[in-house]
């Protein structure tokens, strides 16, 4: 399982920064407003609680990462414990989620830049950003880690200025009196809404094959970054409620910038905007590294094309995995469909949490003698709480998120079948589906031409749709024929 060819070049500092940079994205700069209207000042407690819930799953990452320090993170854990389709689905979700997350962060970065330079083209800026970080990732893991460390240190310094200035200032008309405007349910909804700000920290596990002394460094980096995130988010929320009443945050496009302006003036807006820009950049960097390592691991086990497992001779990085994933990332970023991308990323990350906790329980039962440099405390309570918390989050997600998640699951099933089912039988299945689509299109064509379709269409549109339906019907019929008449080539 050991990755002989990937270089172990990330130390504790870089790994910790990888986790923190992955989590502190543009999300924290925009989600606070709505969450504050739901939970009021109780949001401070909700943020700490979310951090603790996140910690349950992160402890599982720490144990598994130290015990199985191969590339791929969640996928590798699921592979070692469950294998088969479940592990593939975990890897698939992680691969797609990280690509979505990278594109979301790139679009977020481009929007923030557009506030400063209104004339820039947002999709183009997002694509260029992805391209730059793709090159950095191809250049080497050392460069990726260094870039990440620099970005996160600047980000922490800026947030540190905001927090310390806010704590020390005597200005502010807010109140820290415990009050939840929408009651306990509002607090729960706010918790589910803001939990996304903790997602992304598990990038450490994905890059674990490149971390020095993994038995010690991985658990330390995961725990350090998780605890630091709880502290940073809770103190940010404290400053926010100290400075302004929670009601005034409603409808603010950038609640943090608004708060900063109240006690720091235009300088505060500048600091928070730059911090948002850097947060978005570090998320792009981490996510590109994460998606490439997941696809690299999937290729290692034969689920993805072998080329993804190739390392560049000069830089020893999986350049094909990085490049292909980044092409998809750039394509998602170019569409600018931010909501869809955000929902899909959230769903994938949360599913990853569920599988990591399940993997921990299964491996503890099946492989009790596996060398574990770090062990989750209070087992099995901790991973069970991690699973319950993740399922709770899924319940509170937008219905459209679930729909997107189901769609991604179907794609994963199709992709798995492509790799695992015999080629001839697979062609037969496709042939059958092609015939089905052909028949369905023929029925649609009949309904259109007989004017019995329950949609009011103009004559031109009706004829156009009829032509398309007939064309589809004929094309898919021929495709079906071609699929079923090919010679058997069973291996």
């Amino acid at each position: 399982m050991e990755e002989k060819s990937l270089k172990r070049e990330l130390g504790l500092l870089q790994a910790t920064m990888m986790g923190m940079g992955g989590a502190i994205s543009a999300g924290v700069f925009v989600t606070l407003g709505y969450a504050a209207t739901l939970a009021g000042t109780v949001l401070i407690i909700a943020m700490i609680l979310c951090g603790i819930i996140n910690l349950f799953s992160m402890l599982s990452y720490a144990e598994l990462g130290a015990a199985i320090p191969s590339a791929g993170g969640e996928y590798t854990f699921a592979k070692a414990s469950f294998g088969g389709f479940l592990s593939f689905a975990t890897g698939w979700f992680e691969w797609i989620s990280n690509m979505f997350y990278a594109s979301l962060s790139a679009v977020g970065f481009a929007y923030l830049i557009s506030y400063i330079i209104p004339t820039i083209n947002v999709p183009l800026t997002a694509v260029v950003t992805v391209a730059i970080f793709t090159l950095i990732n191809i250049k080497g893991v050392k460069e990726t880690g260094l870039t990440q460390t620099i970005l996160v240190i600047i980000l922490l310094a800026l947030l540190g200025i905001f927090i310390s200035w806010g704590v020390l200032t005597s200005q502010g008309v807010g109140t820290l009196e415990i009050k939840a405007p929408e009651g306990f349910l509002g607090v729960l909804r706010a918790s589910a809404f803001i939990f996304v700000i903790y997602l992304g920290g598990e990038a450490i596990a994905v890059a674990q094959a490149e971390i020095k002394d993994p038995g010690k460094t991985i658990p330390r980096a995961i725990l350090l970054s998780t605890l630091a995130l709880i502290f940073i988010y809770a103190t940010i929320a404290y400053v926010v409620f100290k400075i302004v009443p929670s009601k005034t945050l409603a409808g603010q496009a950038s609640p943090l910038a608004y708060v900063a302006e109240q006690f720091m003036g235009p300088l505060g807006v500048g600091i928070i905007t730059i911090a948002g820009i850097i947060a978005a950049l570090s998320s792009v960097n981490t996510s590109i590294m994460a998606h490439s390592r997941v696809s690299y691991a999937l290729a290692r086990d034969g689920y993805f094309p072998k080329n993804f497992f190739n390392l560049g001779e000069r830089f020893q990085t999986p350049f094909i995995a990085i490049f292909v994933g980044s092409v998809f990332t750039a394509a998602f970023a170019a569409t600018g469909v931010v909501n869809f991308v955000a929902y899909a990323a959230d769903f994938g990350f949360i599913i990853g949490f569920v599988f990591v906790n399940l993997s921990l329980i299964k491996l503890r039962r099946d492989k009790p003698d596996l060398h574990r440099p770090f062990r989750v405390p209070l087992y099995p309570l901790t991973p069970i709480l991690g699973i319950i918390a993740s399922l709770f989050l899924i319940i509170f997600l937008e219905p459209s998120t679930l729909l997107i998640g189901i769609g991604l699951f179907i794609f994963s099933l199709i992709a798995y079948c492509i790799r695992m089912v015999g080629h001839y039988r697979f062609c037969l299945a496709f042939g059958g589906m092609n015939f089905g689509i052909s028949a369905f299109s023929a029925i649609i064509a009949y309904l259109i031409i007989s004017n019995t379709l329950p949609i009011a269409l103009s004559e031109v549109t009706r004829l156009l749709f009829f032509g398309v339906a007939v064309f589809v019907s004929i094309t898919y019929f021929i495709a079906g024929l071609l699929d079923i008449i090919r010679k058997r080539d069973e291996k």
């Binding site: 729909l403 769609g407 199709i414 080629h423 062609c427 589809v472 094309t475 090919r486």
Partner: protein, 76 residues
């Protein structure tokens, strides 16, 4: 005969890939363009359903097309 079948297979595969691409773009248009939604009488509640169906169709078409384009060698 094999050459003809191979050419037809590649041609149909290309068309299927194209249809899949068009369906995916159409899914995006249904999501992003109110005028398209009005023209098709798609209510806001149905948007994600249409998107889902179009994306599934698009993905299937692209996969089926690629199968026809890439796997022609296995016939001989």
């Amino acid at each position: 005969m094999g050459e003809v079948r191979r050419a037809v297979s590649q041609f149909i595969g290309l068309i299927q890939c194209g249809l899949g691409g068009v369906a995916s773009v159409f899914a995006y248009l249904v999501y992003a363009s109110p005028s398209i939604r009005d023209a098709l009488s798609v209510t806001p509640n149905e948007v994600y359903l249409y998107m889902f169906l179009l994306l599934v169709f698009g993905m299937f078409s692209i996969l089926s097309g690629l199968l026809l384009i890439r796997e022609e060698d296995s016939w001989d």
